[in-house]
């Protein structure tokens, strides 16, 4: 594929990038490195199989099954591996529990490390400079950007994902959910509550 840069710059930076990306894929395909259908399949798998619904199921299970919760906090990857209905998870997943005394929050200051299999691909804000720079220095200020306020004496623990370990926050179970099923509870678990920048929804709170 060719693209002529002599014509006037009437296309946006985005379409410039789009042309370059297409050119790269063409070269990789022509050289026999990748099969475009395999790239399509990767994208489709990300779009359909991973996402916060996986993490929500794990959290809901931990809220209702004390033995599972104990195993999850001891070895996240191993415990999740015992759940047939959740997509497979890689190694080195550490699950950290929020309590009244301690609130956990996860960041990757150096790049964008995030538990993809549990939460899907990270949102733009997680990968962007404002969050990465401030989460470790001013976590309460960052939480305020999410309209989250914690009691003054609650300890905030920030986990900077600097290696291949990945962190998932186990949020506190909302009050008023006694007797709820795992499926009902999973509906309350938000992505941000598993990053530590939000809380699960309360019963009756709109999605």
């Amino acid at each position: 594929m060719s693209h002529d840069h002599d014509h006037h710059h009437d296309h946006s930076e985005l379409s410039e990038t789009e042309l370059r990306v297409r050119a790269l894929e063409t070269i990789l395909t022509e050289k026999g490195y990748v099969e475009p259908a395999a790239l399509d399949a990767i994208i489709q798998a990300y779009e359909t199989r991973i996402g916060p619904h996986n993490g929500a199921r794990v959290v809901a299970k931990a809220w209702t099954d004390p033995a599972f919760k104990k195993a999850l906090l001891e070895d996240g990857s191993k415990a999740i591996g015992t759940l047939g209905h959740v997509s497979r998870v890689g190694d080195h997943l550490v699950v950290v529990e929020n309590t009244k005394e301690r609130h956990n929050m996860v960041v990757c200051t150096l790049c964008s490390c995030y538990p993809w299999e549990m939460l899907g691909l990270p949102p733009v804000w997680y990968k962007a400079a404002p969050y990465r720079s401030r989460a470790v220095k001013d976590p309460r200020g960052v939480l305020a950007d999410f309209d989250v306020a914690l009691p003054k004496d609650t300890e905030i623990r920030v986990w900077d994902s600097t290696a291949e370990t990945r962190f998932l926050v186990l949020p506190m179970r909302p009050e008023g959910t006694e007797g709820w099923s795992e499926e009902q509870l999973a509906e309350l678990v938000t992505r941000d509550s598993m990053i530590g920048t939000g809380f699960p929804r309360k019963p009756g709170e709109p999605a």
Partner: protein, 219 residues
């Protein structure tokens, strides 16, 4: 390297702005870039640490002004050129000109897709016993390698406590430079906010990093 990617503790980037109902990709090309990075990595063209290093070595103004997947694209293209999988001439022409370089794991085709859907394993057998115990006080070394490292600047020189031992893992500092895996013990080390940010720091804050043993001294 002391690059702009090492952002922990920097000021001036403004508020965090979550996007309501954010789509997984903001343009089709972003998805193609993600897929190409995953595919070429799985085919053996580079490891995850090398790919991070190529994004970190983008010029600072480019790093700071490019969207996330634009950084991925720029890093991927440069890395594939430098590793000999394509040439600048081919990039300029937008088509293959030179013969292909053999990939360690062969062409990435449909049969390989499942492999990229689960993260790789990074733990390795321990070449020697761990130096530090849980609960031990350690000081993050004051080191400034010009190449890839996962020791962020904001903890260097500061004292923390070993909280978890994750076993021995591939050492990114050497793996990124293709100098071998050199597995090292990996610990979660937790620092008091006031230790990192001084007396004005929030006293209720603690920050941990996952630190490889060569990053740490006894304290």
């Amino acid at each position: 390297m002391n690059g702009v990617h090492d952002m922990g503790g920097m000021d001036g980037f403004g508020k965090v702005e979550p996007e309501a109902n954010e789509p997984m990709f903001h343009a089709d090309w972003e998805a193609r870039v993600l897929a190409m990075v995953r595919a070429m990595g799985a085919a053996g063209a580079f490891n995850i640490d090398t790919s991070r290093f190529y994004r970190e070595t983008l010029p600072p103004h480019v790093y700071l002004s490019s969207s996330y997947y634009k950084k991925w694209f720029l890093g991927l293209e440069e890395m594939l050129i430098e590793k000999g999988y394509l040439t600048r001439e081919e990039v300029a022409a937008g088509r293959a000109i030179q013969p292909a370089k053999a990939l360690k794991h062969g062409k990435f085709d449909l049969a390989n897709v499942e492999r990229v859907m689960v993260r790789g394993k990074f733990d390795r057998p321990a070449p020697q016993p761990a130096k530090f115990e849980i609960g031990e006080r350690v000081r993050a070394k004051n080191i400034h390698p010009a190449t890839h490292t996962r020791l962020p600047r904001y903890v260097r020189g500061h004292v923390g406590v070993v909280e978890l031992n994750h076993g021995c893992h591939v050492f990114p500092d050497t793996a990124a430079m293709e100098l071998g895996e050199h597995p090292q013990w990996l610990y979660t080390v937790v620092f008091e906010g006031s230790e990192l940010w001084g007396p004005d720091g929030d006293p209720t804050t603690k920050v941990s990093i996952d630190a490889f043993e060569p990053y740490l001294d006894p304290a």
